[in-house]
């Protein structure tokens, strides 16, 4: 199972991405499960809205943070996210 660069990526409809005020961080919620996210991971997942493919997500984030060379980190995280069922294509 790996990311298909041709297809758009969307956050899983059976999971929930939510801001937690008390912890000042985003979390993923699913049946009896909770994953606390760092800021970078949350930014990547927020781009998974079903309209963007991998290259567009990378471009969006590189522009947003005015930086380059995020391809490897973003791809690696999205592979993990796909494997865990947080995103789908």
């Amino acid at each position: 199972m790996s990311i298909n660069p041709e297809q758009t990526i969307k956050f899983s409809p059976t999971h929930r991405l939510q801001w937690e005020e008390a912890q000042q961080k985003f979390v993923i919620l699913y049946p009896e499960g909770l994953v606390e996210l760092n800021q970078t991971s949350a930014e990547i997942l927020k781009c998974c809205d079903g309209t963007l493919a991998l290259a567009q997500i990378i471009a969006t984030l590189e522009e947003k943070f005015a930086t380059r060379g995020l391809t490897d980190d973003i791809t690696a995280f999205l592979e993990v996210a796909l494997h865990n069922g947080w995103i789908e294509q």
Binding site: M1, Q18, A22, Q23, L29, Y30, E32, L34
Partner: protein, 380 residues
């Protein structure tokens, strides 16, 4: 500094709230995690009390919420509580036997904002399911599982494993697939409460356990991406204890039906904790300042070999309830650990179960019901 141990372990907020709405249950599972003397606790929090608890715990940071029991469906105010939880931003899980569930109720709960329903099934066939549950329930449970899927909930099937059903692993997996489970929880019995009483009849042999685990692991790879399998290990066959509750007072908050706040759902059996009640204190006072929630925070309480162990931050010395139940000392290393000088009690438990299998006159299971609870907790 209130709420901090003198070794300055930082206080983390509760993130998981288990709301045990009631001890009432139409089933009689002989491994129930409710206390053996549950029949002595007759009072239940009111709807308003529960709403206050949900609100206060949410403010503290709790976000995963389990409605449990007993059988939570016996509470008529369940949809009202679900609605309150939804408004607060909880992810709410209903942990049910399915008994008493109707399709109309499933629809009503969905509209109220329930996120997920976990249905327990006791075995892969009707005869054993109905025997273990002490109630005719198998056919209805499968119907409930279908409704859960049909109405768009993620469906978690939970099967508690023990000697009588662990040999059905292949059939249990096939049943989960047929029912379209998104998650399958294969929970080896944890030996507290009723399960502790019935341990000689429930504990599988090592060969049974290893065979079942091999089947489950192979299946896990086969269904990767379709069904998630949570495998809860039977720690009697491990050589390191479980990281119980992710660390005492670090993550989990259980509220018992009468409002007693517990650091874990078994903690009621530990002596001297003086567990506080939500009728007397706010959740913040309970979490931050109560004796019970600070009792095993950090590692100052530990004895050897835990105190100098390089794994103490990983498993926190194991389970306090298990240490107390099996060694009589709530500060002892969990005897599951191979570094424990009392590991022998685990071996004795395994041998005791083995003897019981071989014995011609196997003693009967003690089912979890009011009559047995009263008899066992008020001996004459």
């Amino acid at each position: 500094m209130a709420g901090l141990n003198n070794n300055m372990t930082s206080l983390t907020p509760p993130r998981w709230l288990l709301a045990e709405l009631t001890y009432a249950c139409p089933l009689q599972c002989p491994y129930c995690s409710n206390p053996v003397d549950y029949a002595n606790y007759k009072t239940e929090l009111s709807t308003d009390d529960w709403k206050r608890v949900l609100t206060q715990a949410r403010q503290m940071g709790a976000v995963q919420l389990g409605f449990s029991g007993g059988e939570p469906l016996t509470r008529q105010d369940l949809p009202e509580l679900v609605q309150h939880a939804k408004a607060l931003g909880y992810y709410s899980n209903l942990i049910t036997s399915g008994y008493g569930m109707t399709e109309a109720k499933i629809i009503e709960l969905k509209a109220a904002g329930l996120d997920h329903i976990q249905v327990s099934i006791q075995a892969s066939n009707q005869q054993l399911n109905d025997h273990i549950a002490g109630t005719e329930s198998f056919v209805h449970k499968k119907q409930v599982a279908h409704w859960v899927k049909q109405h768009g909930y993620p469906m978690v099937l939970c099967v508690v494993l023990h000697r009588d059903n662990i040999g059905q692993m292949q059939d249990i997996l096939a049943m989960a697939e047929e029912l379209g489970a998104d998650y399958l929880e294969l929970a080896n019995t944890q030996y507290y409460g009723w399960a502790h009483l019935n341990r000689d009849l429930l504990l599988p042999t090592k060969a049974q356990f290893e065979q079942a685990e091999a089947i489950a692991q192979a299946y896990k790879e086969k269904v990767a991406g379709k069904m998630k399998i949570y495998y809860v290990v039977p720690d009697f066959y491990e050589d390191r204890p479980k990281a119980c509750m992710n660390g005492w007072g670090s993550t989990f908050l259980t509220i018992a039906p009468d409002g007693t706040a517990l650091p874990c759902h078994s903690a009621r059996q530990l002596p001297g904790l003086d567990c506080p009640n939500v009728n007397d204190y706010s959740i913040a006072e309970i979490w931050n300042d109560s004796k019970a929630f600070n009792f095993f925070r950090g590692d100052d309480w530990m004895k050897e070999p835990c105190r100098s162990c390089d794994e103490k931050a990983k498993d926190f010395g194991g389970c306090r309830c298990q240490a107390y139940l099996l060694t009589g000392d709530l500060y002892a290393t969990d005897p599951v650990c191979s570094k424990s000088s009392q590991r022998g009690v685990i071996q004795q438990a395994i041998e005791g179960a083995q003897r019981n299998i071989e014995s011609a006159a196997e003693k009967p299971l003690i089912f979890r019901n009011n009559k047995n609870s009263k008899t066992l907790s008020n001996p004459v």
